[in-house]
């Protein structure tokens, strides 16, 4: 094996790839070859580092220098200065805020300071397409340990001790679930990995699959060994082509090493793994719908019991877990359940990955110990609100979740605490909103989503969400009445209590929490016909502030419907009845003379 004096890790995740990472990788290879350094310096494409917004990300080892927003044009300078002369390039380092100097290292950056990476341990450190790098970081050790020195029951006990709970939304204790499936009779059993990741705004499963596919495969094998399954499926959304490709490659590599297939490590344990591509339906993330989809039917939920542990895929006992859940398992088996349980709160153990997005300075994937406060996530890790606007709310748990406010920022994050507030942990989407986001509009946005994705099997969900959406549309158009609020609330309770599956049961959450915490905003839309955030187009009114206006005429030139008559002497005026409220004038006016109210 060649020893390289230096490694250049370049993020090849989806975010960085769309910011030009492929060109950066190409440029590094070319530049190193040109200087005959390619025998000493190895270029490693990695998975996501979580800081996609600052991408493409490049980390140079052994120093661990962290460069962001690197373009192909910057590469010759990095090679010349850093790699050749040993002088790191200041201007490409992450900039500290205020008068802090540029921060050269990973661990100094506040975004990473409070993180604790278990599920994401390898993401960004290894080349996901090279199984040797996974093995070099302790990969497949847990599997070896289990097969050679643990009984299946001991593996389940270890997972029980860890306190690990399902990361796909429900938070059901994983060890307990495994024990149900292990206890089910029969020769044939399946394990499934749920990689449907339906929450629009969460991408942790994608990053794990793209950045560290073997951790999920090893987790599934440990589960299969513990429960007595010999076959598994990974159900991955088709919108994630790179994840699917990496998985296929990883499976082939593991088979090549005899880690997957018949008589693994010369034991009597055999395991075969397949990939199924999803076909674009949110409800297929629900476990019974997902199995229906694997079987080739329409993905519609069915009532439980029977639970999958007794009658799942094609009627056989089946255990289904989320990507992040599986990815935690190998480390629990390697380091012991006690180790994992030492992190987190009393009932929510370990760490959770959140996708921090919306109006925060630093968006990205963060893995933090349970029990951390929302304030720490949004302000310490996320750096606070974009453009120093005012924090308004944070939406947790996607379309099934809820909106929390300023007063909840100091709540320690756990399954119980979030549920108590009317939100849910969900998959871990955290969308931050500022004063420009309208809460009624946000509730409407989520309902549009759930209404569209309702599979239509049961009436409360299919019809109830539709009527709730109609009411919200009415309100955002300024046509709502106070009675509508009561009807909305009543419908929300009905849909929540009477729907068959989790989609319908949780769809009202965004409406209920915004009604609970932002009621005055609904009332402003109804009584004053006004959207305080200035987001609901139908309620907006654009006017020119005559004392600020410099009569430049730029608004008039840009208005698509020509409704700003006037000239450079007498000034300009908006004809409100013709205005389509497109906002162009507001954006184009160089003097901020247009008011939106």
């Amino acid at each position: 094996m060649t020893i390289f004096r230096s490694h250049v890790l370049i993020c090849g995740g989806t975010g960085c790839t769309s910011s030009g990472a492929a060109e950066v990788i190409g440029s590094f290879k070319q530049e190193l070859a040109r200087r005959k350094l390619d025998g000493e310096v190895l270029v490693v494409p990695t998975g996501c580092h979580g800081m996609c917004e600052m991408g493409p990300i490049v980390v140079v080892y052994p120093e661990g220098t962290f460069y962001c927003k690197v373009t192909a044009n910057d590469v010759p300078e990095i090679v010349e200065e850093h790699i050749y002369k040993g002088r790191p390039v200041q201007r490409l380092m992450y900039e500290g805020s205020g008068d802090m100097p540029a921060l050269p290292h990973y661990k100094d950056i506040p975004f990473y300071g409070k993180q604790h990476r278990i599920a994401l341990a390898n993401c960004g450190y290894i080349n996901p397409e090279n199984i040797d790098e996974y093995i070099a970081r302790g990969g497949y050790e847990a599997l070896g340990k289990a097969i050679t020195s643990m009984t299946p029951a001991q593996v389940i006990d270890e997972v029980k001790t860890s306190g690990l709970r399902g990361r796909g939304g429900g938070g059901f204790p994983t060890g307990l679930k495994w024990s149900f499936c292990a206890a089910a009779g029969g020769e044939k059993k399946y394990v499934i990995c749920n990689a449907d990741e339906g929450d629009p705004g969460a991408f942790m499963d994608r990053s794990i699959l793209e950045g560290d596919p073997h951790s999920v495969i090893e987790g599934m094998m440990l589960g299969a060994y513990a429960m007595g399954a010999d076959e598994g499926y990974i159900y991955c959304r088709a919108e994630y082509p790179l994840a699917i490709e990496r998985l296929k490659q990883a499976i082939t590599a593991a088979e090549g090493y005899g880690l997957l297939g018949d008589s693994i490590m010369n034991s009597s344990f055999s395991f075969h793994l397949h990939i199924k591509e999803g076909a674009g339906a949110f409800v297929c993330g629900e476990e019974t719908a997902l199995m229906g989809s694997i079987e080739g039917r329409r993905g519609m939920p069915r009532p439980r019991p029977p639970f999958p542990a007794n009658s799942g895929l094609w009627g056989y006992p089946t255990n289904i877990n989320n990507v992040e859940t599986w990815a935690n398992v190998p480390q629990i088996i390697s380091n012991g359940g006690e180790w994992y349980a030492s992190m987190g709160t009393e009932k929510s153990k370990g760490t959770k990955v959140f996708a921090l997005t919306g109006k925060v300075k630093h968006t990205g994937l963060v893995e933090v110990p349970m029990g951390i406060t929302l304030r720490e996530i949004v302000f310490d890790i996320g750096g606070g609100i974009l453009n120093d606007k005012k924090f308004k709310a944070v939406q947790i748990g996607g379309p099934s979740g809820g909106c929390l406010t300023e007063e909840h920022l100091d709540t320690p994050v756990s399954y119980e605490s979030l549920t108590a507030l009317g939100a849910i942990m969900g998959s871990g989407g955290l969308v931050v909103m500022d004063e420009d986001n309208c809460m009624v509009d946000v509730a409407k946005f989520f309902l549009e989503f759930t209404q569209k994705e309702s599979c239509g099997k049961c009436v409360p969900c299919r019809e109830g969400t539709k009527h709730m959406l109609l009411l919200l549309e009415k309100i955002t158009e300024g046509k709502g009445t106070m009675e509508d609020l009561d009807t909305l609330e009543e419908l929300a309770h009905m849909v929540r209590d009477m729907s068959l599956c989790g989609l319908g049961q949780t769809a009202p959450n965004p409406v209920l929490t915004t009604l609970r915490y932002f009621r005055e905003e609904y009332i402003a839309h109804i009584r004053d016909k006004r959207c305080p955030a200035g987001a609901c187009t139908a309620l907006l009114r654009y006017t020119i502030l005559q004392d600020v206006c410099k009569k430049c005429g730029i608004c008039a030139k840009n208005c698509p419907v020509h409704c700003i008559p006037g000239d450079r002497n007498s000034g300009y005026r908006i004809e409100t009845d013709k205005c389509i409220r497109c906002g162009t004038c507001f954006e184009k006016c160089p003097f901020g003379a247009i008011e939106k109210k």
Partner: protein, 156 residues
């Protein structure tokens, strides 16, 4: 990329072949047919029905249930505008409107010259770069409405 009825039947038969004696083939078959033909023509659905002995109604039910399947031909370039949460709160509606305006058709519609199909999607998994859109396989992030025209112009 137009195929004759015979070609459609032939290609579909080839794809269906390995699944005739196995379970769970319908969705992978539809995915493979669409990957080859660009959409799911009626003749293809009929062929699958005959080969697998599944009633056409069931196949049609599955094909219309999933957002991924298309029963009509699509444009040479598919413009996917993300309408996920992260993109929504960062102004993706304005991007979608700009795209519709410039291309001149609505959501899930195709231009007559088959140049573009517009498809709003829920999250492209690049939320850190919101708002995001994808043309074919290329992702464009950190968008403002004024960038849209320049991007679309690159795709003939």
């Amino acid at each position: 990329m137009a195929f004759s009825v015979e070609e459609i039947r032939e290609k579909t038969r080839k794809i269906t072949e390995p699944w005739r004696e196995r379970n769970g083939g319908l969705i992978p078959i539809l995915q493979a047919v669409q990957a080859q033909l660009g959409y799911l023509p009626q003749e293809a659905l009929e062929t699958i029905s005959r080969e697998l002995k599944i009633p056409p109604s069931e196949i049609y039910g599955v094909a219309t249930f999933y957002a991924q399947f298309h029963l009509k031909p699509r444009g040479r370039h598919v413009v996917r505008v993300c309408r996920g949460t992260a993109c929504h709160v960062r102004g993706s509606l304005k991007i979608l409107e700009k795209v519709k305006n410039l291309i001149g058709v609505g959501e899930n519609e195709t231009t007559e010259d088959l140049r573009f199909t517009i498809e709003p999607v829920a999250c492209l998994g690049a939320c850190g770069l919101a708002p995001v859109m994808m043309v074919d396989t290329q992702t464009f992030g950190r968008l403002v409405p004024d960038m849209v025209k320049g991007i679309l112009d690159k795709f003939e």
